[in-house]
Symmetry: C2
Subunit: 367 residues, 2 copies
């Protein structure tokens, strides 16, 4: 095999497929990137058996062939080579000679025959959204999942398509993040649970440009993302997701409209007085025209005051500040609407368009 | 006590004195910043008993007084407050009320009476250099010291003034970094060992501007840096420093002039094939017009070739790549001169002006 790339194209492609290469594994071959130039195009693949990524790389094929190369070493070599043409050449023992200007690396590769290609996916049920919107949706919900929970379902996100709208949900038992995206055209109904790790990795390689689209295909066991010259395939999490609709209510006793930045900055300061792991809540007092933030901990006390618009009853309620901070940080609006019922009932943070909903359980407090 | 500051002035001052506040200590009072407004100026002090920093802070004194406040908490509060006027007020129990806009923090402080002020230093022997040059000198030598050695002397740097020139030296037994700075005016002879940690911290608060000067005062036990509105005092390390002059030689058998960036990039790539902790050297072969970099390790091989100007004999020599990388990274010149004698003798990297010298011991290798 003999291939010629530009450094920038090679660097980009390695960066993409690396996202599916596990850092620790007992199967050496999984720590490799497969370079496949057996046809008329060059394809790189990374695959940890849960998540697989494939991308077509621009380059010149001087001699066809394929090889599996240690992903970490290969990516570091590519990154540190001069910004010029890079040639990769293998011999019959799969030793790879990587040359660029006056630099010649020899590293041992493996036969690509043991490498697992991505599973073939029936491209039946499909939706299309912009890469930017998928990225934003993941960023606005993924923090609400429980990354290391024994209950696998809590580590993933619900992707539900109904009435031409995509709903993505993450929850960890203390809070729920919901993001709605309306879809163009007609879409089949879908309800699957996607691993959080898959979404984490894909969000890193999606474009930030609103004009680039991603096609998402669904089967019973897999989800497939197709964008630019890249395909990402992931297994789904088996099981029945929680009944979200039962948790959502439109009833409220108190509605608050508050400046998001002022509220976030205030909670962020309040959090300074609460030690990591401490269960101490911050106390929020809602009155006519003002929301008071109060903490009284072993470290000290804080009292703040934020101007608000209020409808309905006055209320005093306690929260874990981290949960409020996580949600407020990913909201891009100037103002947010907060809906409350009583100090024991979940609090809803919503925008006017109903594009996102954060539901946060309050914490008991002694006033 | 009642004081009013701008956020930016307060933030800057806290950042400066924090550099002398220890992260872990058994003496609670050392984890505090002392705010002293008993006279007509406001002075902040941090002091871990080895290193002390004092800075004058611009602000309005409404009521005189002093208080010691937990440094970490105080700095976080100041950083997160809005960019506006900040008032600090204490009561007779040393509880500090910190207010800014609608935010009111109450945190407990301590009487400043137990706090150790900086030791009084006899301002006798003194030199003056620019802050920029001191910073650069520290950055170009400190990496060569042994930060955690049982031999205290290896953890510090020699500051030697002789013939109106400052020489700063760091060494760890494998390499030596020497930086010479010529001084304006007449200076007394000085020879002291300054703790590496002191230099590390001071380099973070020195200005990058070549016009701002720093006065450095020396006694038998202390070094004092005076610049802007800040004073830094540090104990010295006791003992006799190594006899540097005996290690410096101007004899050589081979002289190489090489492009610094090409050499650094090449060694940096070679380092990819050497595992952390492995004793494997890189091998450098110097021939007419070319320097070859070669590694042959369990991971793979690398061969590179760099154009050079050479005087004297051909030579093959092995190095720990990390030591070459550390030295080349802090050199700002386009080309460097390398002087060699034989594969067992130290290698010297120098500029034409003799402003820096790096001496690196070679490593045995089997060709």
């Amino acid at each position: 095999m003999k291939l010629i790339f530009t450094k920038s194209e090679l660097n980009k492609a390695v960066g993409i497929v690396m996202k599916a290469v596990p850092t620790r594994t007992t199967m050496n071959i999984l720590e490799c990137i497969l370079i496949d130039a057996t046809t008329n195009e060059i394809k790189f693949t990374g695959n940890d058996m849960e998540l697989g990524i494939e991308t077509i790389v621009e380059g010149e094929i001087i001699e066809k062939g394929k090889v599996a190369i240690d992903a970490k070493l290969f990516s570091e070599i590519v990154r540190k080579l001069p910004d010029n043409e890079i040639t990769i050449e293998t011999d019959s023992n799969f030793t790879a000679l990587i040359t660029c200007e006056k630099s010649k690396f020899n590293i041992s590769g493996k036969s690509g025959d043991d490498f697992s290609y991505l599973p073939a996916i029936l491209k039946d049920k499909m939706i299309t959204i912009s890469q930017f919107k998928l990225r934003e949706t993941i960023n606005q919900t993924l923090f609400s999942t429980a990354p290391n929970d024994n209950n696998k379902i809590l580590t993933g996100e619900l992707f539900e398509v109904k009435d031409n709208s995509l709903r993505v949900v993450g929850l960890d038992g203390h809070r729920i993040a919901i993001r709605n995206v309306s879809l163009q055209g007609r879409a089949d109904d879908i309800k699957v649970i996607v691993p959080g790790k898959t979404l984490q990795e894909i969000s890193k390689i999606l474009s930030t440009d609103d004009e680039n689209m991603v096609n998402i295909y669904f089967t019973n066991n897999h989800i497939l993302f197709e964008f630019d010259k890249t395909v990402v395939v992931s297994r789904l999490i088996e099981g029945e997701y929680f009944k979200i609709n039962q948790m959502i209510s439109n009833d409220y006793e108190t509605k608050v409209i508050i400046n998001k930045k002022e509220f976030l900055d205030s909670i962020d300061r309040a959090n300074l007085l609460i030690k990591e792991g401490e269960k101490k809540p911050i106390i929020i007092t809602i009155e006519e025209g003002s929301l008071k933030v109060n903490v009284n901990s072993a470290i000290g006390t804080l009292n703040e005051d934020i101007d608000i618009e209020k409808e309905g009853k006055d209320l005093m309620i306690g929260f874990n500040p981290k949960f409020l901070i996580d949600a407020l940080r990913v909201i891009d609006d100037e103002n947010v609407n907060i809906y409350l019922v009583n100090p024991k009932a979940p609090c809803f943070i919503r925008d006017n368009e109903n594009s996102y909903t954060y539901i946060i359980l309050p914490v008991n407090f002694t006033a």
